[in-house]
């Protein structure tokens, strides 16, 4: 161990954002020519740590060594000079630039874009030697996500990166694209590139890495050789206690259909078809899980079902109400039809972060008596209502006048859930209910969903976490490229088959 100098060595790195201690006294050694995983829950401080390494943020304390030499990384330019490259979770690409222009940006080779030909040749070479093939003249915004990610990798390599950081690279990829990415990473490792892979997916860490480090609440809690650990051990390290892996599924007593989608096809503002002929049936007393890689139409489907986006083709039926292009419904009407909606993005959609908790507690229901009996809004009614929700759903702190942004992710989510479940909805749409939520709150939220189901509620659960769907759902629908690839009962569900469907390879199974 001592004979080889680590490619990257961090000692005592600390970083605080105002009151939040994002990193605390973090140590890390990454050996050259290896793939090193960093795992941890959302908010464990992984992204902050690599941002510091890439010069996006300055550390408050600590030392960084690259190839044994102590360095100061004041900005990304310094990181690039040290041979560090980064593929961000959200790609840093200019959508209306070509691949060539994106790769050149910051490495243009002279004042008049003199390096154009050389860069083009380099893109060809990298494409040939690492399987990173992509058309240099394609406009990036029109490429598939997997290809955009290749452009990011090419960008980093073009700038001479010998240490490549990938921040949650697989979140937007299909299983097949993920496999391709891992082949590329393995190829890079053979060429001596050091890879730092940030993820919260244990399966991937086990599949590709040589070493793995675990972060929890801003601290580095363990380093392991991948061959000498197990997913169970890593999960326990991530969470800090033995994981009760299953809340347990409640047996379904399925009733009549509560909501039917029939042949929904939907195009976005640019005319791209996001949903193609989607049909679903949601029955009372069941949880229907909607699985799929992010960005395959789940969000659009939720928007249609909740009335946020207008139906273009096909129809939605609930009770006696038929919703189609000629007879649209808005979210206010859907709520009157007893539909609750816990949106995927609670910070942008589910809450107005600058509003007080008590105002958020009636968001969407502000025309009802919750906001006051008369024509005007009554502040005291707001406070009373909010306090009741907070006590029932264990939202802490019980502070109706605190702005929503002042609550933790889990408590924000509980507030949204409380609001949407308060009126005992017949139908509940739930998007990514536990994203960025701590373990304790996850159990609480899962329990609440099960409770509603037991009372006969029809629940559509959209999640990119397959484990969550397997835990809760009675039936599983899989989406890919705007289509429902198939629906299977939980009992018959086979993870391999679901994975194939998520990749759109239904026939291959």
């Amino acid at each position: 161990m001592a004979s080889v100098t680590p490619a990257v060595s961090l000692r005592g790195i600390s970083k605080a954002f105002a009151a939040v201690q994002a990193n605390r006294d973090v140590d890390l050694d990454v050996m050259p020519g290896t793939i090193h995983g960093i795992v941890g829950e959302n908010g464990a401080g992984k992204s902050t740590l690599v941002s510091i390494l890439y010069g996006f943020h300055g550390a408050d304390a600590g030392e960084i060594r690259v190839d044994g030499r102590p360095v100061r990384i004041a900005d990304s330019a310094a990181a690039i000079r040290l041979g560090i490259g980064m593929v961000h979770q959200h790609f840093m690409l200019v959508p209306n630039f070509t691949v060539l222009e994106n790769v050149m940006l910051g490495a243009e080779g002279g004042p008049r874009l003199d390096g154009r030909a050389a860069t083009r040749a380099e893109i060809e070479r990298l494409g040939a030697s690492y399987g990173l093939r992509v058309d240099p003249d394609a406009v990036v915004g029109e490429l598939a996500v997997g290809l955009q990610q290749r452009v990011e990798i090419i960008k980093a390599l073009r700038r001479g990166a010998r240490i490549l950081i990938l921040d949650e690279p697989t979140g937007v990829l299909t299983p097949e694209e993920t496999d391709r990415l891992f082949e590329i990473l393995a190829e890079l490792r053979r060429e001596g590139v050091t890879v730092l892979l940030i993820t919260h997916k244990l399966r991937e860490v086990m599949a590709i890495t040589d070493h793995v480090s675990v972060m929890r609440q801003g601290e580095m809690v363990a380093h392991r050789e991948t061959a000498a650990t197990s997913p169970e051990e890593l999960a326990e390290l991530m969470v800090g206690r033995k994981v009760l892996l299953q809340v347990g599924r409640v047996p379904a007593r399925t009733g009549p259909p509560a909501l039917r989608a029939e042949g929904l096809t939907w195009r976005d503002g640019r005319g791209v078809e996001r949903l193609s002929d989607v049909s679903l049936e949601l029955r009372a007393g069941e949880i229907l899980g909607l699985a799929g890689v992010a960005g395959n139409g789940q969000s659009e489907l939720l928007d249609l079902l909740s009335g946020i986006a207008p139906v273009q083709e096909g129809r939605i039926v609930t009770g006696a109400r038929v919703i189609d292009a000629a007879r649209p419904a808005d979210p206010a009407e859907m709520r009157r039809l007893h539909l609750g909606h816990v949106p995927e993005d609670r910070q942008r959609r589910g809450l107005v972060l600058s509003f007080e908790a008590r105002e958020n507690a009636v968001l969407g229901y502000h025309h009802g008596p919750e906001a006051g009996a008369g024509r005007l809004i009554s502040p005291s009614a707001l406070t009373r209502h909010c306090r009741r929700l907070m006590e029932r759903f264990d939202v802490r702190p019980v502070a109706p006048r605190l702005a929503a942004r002042g609550f933790s992710g889990g408590n924000q989510q509980k507030l949204v859930l409380a609001r949407e479940m308060e009126r005992q909805p017949r139908i509940l749409l739930v998007g990514q209910p536990t994203r960025g939520v701590d373990i304790g709150a996850i159990e609480f939220i899962h329990d609440q969903l099960n409770a509603l189901k037991r009372q006969g509620g029809a629940i559509l659960l959209v999640s990119v976490e397959l484990d969550e769907i397997l835990t809760l759902a009675d039936r599983i629908a899989v989406m890919h490229a705007g289509r429902i690839e198939g629906v299977v009962a939980r009992e018959d569900a086979d993870i391999g088959e679901i994975g194939m469907m998520m990749a759109g390879m239904r026939g291959a199974a």
């Binding site: 009151a19 909740s306 946020i308 979210p331 589910g350 972060l353 969407g364 906001a371 809004i377």
Partner: protein, 362 residues
């Protein structure tokens, strides 16, 4: 980010920004060779002390109240209405059309009510146009409102040099309206109640503006419409999720904003001039931006800011008489500096003060 104490955020920072604006304005005065302190004294006396000064100050305040409220209502929906000039001009046109067409036939009180309705309706319509363009065509409201200011000015010039021009005259203005169709002056009201009062252009519009301020408070913070408006302003996705009809709301918000700006014409046209003339808006619409910024879009703050600007305008006029080298345009300088420091640089002191107050607490 730990929030700063409330008194710092709502009291100290605005005051520091304001002080900086005045400090630099004072520097300008000093650079052109005059005594800034004396200039300030002249302005304060001119605004509050001389007979009738307060009346004039409140008269200007009325304009700023209306335009400031107009900017604030739109701002609560995160819409930047810098079209107050045009909306006020068209509001004035509304008054003029009502009175020129109807004042021979109807009694005064009815005319006044119709004229108020005309100002509000025309202003609302002129505000709703950019609102509609933003909501349904995606046109940037800042640019469209600027363009509509110029278009409104062009329309007014066209009408006042053409069909609406006072017969037999060549100056671009309408004939005088029937004296019955005037908002009463405050000095007339005061005298009829037995008080002594200096003659000033202050008229009943001031009371209307105060009522409008109270109404705006109620509308924004106590009605469900206001709830939706604020939700839209703070987060459009969340508003759409909550069932707010986003596009319609944008148009409505701009209509209300335009109506308030249009009502500025009540003070100038129905209250003071009694005829429609060119350029009567003279920048009050733009100043509304500064008023709303300083008043933090809250009616109480807007009243205080409007009063400040009213005093600046009235006191600034006094500069013309007292100094050879500084004139009322000095007020524009102060105004520009206030917008710069209270608006664009509003957060300049936050990091510094954050350090001060966090260090103290730690």
């Amino acid at each position: 980010m730990t929030p700063l104490p409330r008194w710092v955020e709502l009291g100290l920072i605005p005051l520091m920004n304001l002080a900086l604006a005045f400090l630099i304005a004072g520097l300008v005065v000093w650079l052109v060779g005059e005594d800034p302190v004396r200039a300030l004294v002249v302005m304060v006396e001119g605004a509050f002390v001389y007979p009738g000064a307060l009346g004039y100050t409140l008269y200007y305040t009325t304009n700023f109240l209306f335009t400031g409220l107009a900017v604030a209502v739109a701002f609560h929906a995160m819409l930047f209405n810098i079209g107050g000039e045009g909306q006020a001009a068209i509001g004035g046109l509304g008054i003029a059309l009502v009175l020129v067409l109807l004042d021979p036939y109807l009694p005064g009180p009815v005319l006044i009510l119709l004229a108020i309705a005309g100002a509000a309706a025309f202003g609302a319509a002129w505000g709703a146009i950019p609102g509609w363009l933003q909501a349904y065509r995606g046109s940037h409201i800042v640019i469209t409102t600027i363009m509509l200011n110029f278009i409104a000015a062009g329309i007014l010039v066209g009408l006042l040099t053409g069909p609406l021009m006072r017969p037999g005259q060549s100056s671009p203005q309408t004939r005088e309206f029937d004296p019955a169709a005037r908002l009463p002056y405050i000095h007339d009201i005061a005298r009829s109640l037995g008080f002594e009062a200096t003659t000033t252009p202050l008229n009943l519009s001031f009371v209307l503006a105060l009522l409008a301020a109270a109404g705006v408070w109620l509308l924004i913070w106590r009605t469900r419409w206001g709830f939706e408006l604020r939700a839209l302003g703070q987060s459009e996705p969340a508003a759409a999720y909550a069932g707010v009809p986003v596009a319609r709301m944008v148009v409505q918000a701009m209509a209300v904003s335009g109506a308030l700006a249009g009502c500025m014409a009540l003070n100038e046209i129905l209250g003071a001039q009694h005829k429609l003339l060119l350029n009567f808006t003279s920048g009050y619409g733009f100043t509304g931006i500064a008023v709303a910024l300083m008043g933090r879009n809250h009616p109480v703050g807007i009243f205080l800011a409007a009063l400040l600007f009213g005093a600046l305008y009235q006191g600034g006029a006094e500069l013309d008489f007292e100094f050879r080298t500084i004139t009322r345009e000095m007020v524009l300088v102060i105004q520009g500096l206030i917008i710069l420091f209270s608006g664009a640089l509003a957060l300049m002191f936050v990091p510094v003060l954050g350090r001060v107050f966090r260090a103290r607490r730690a």
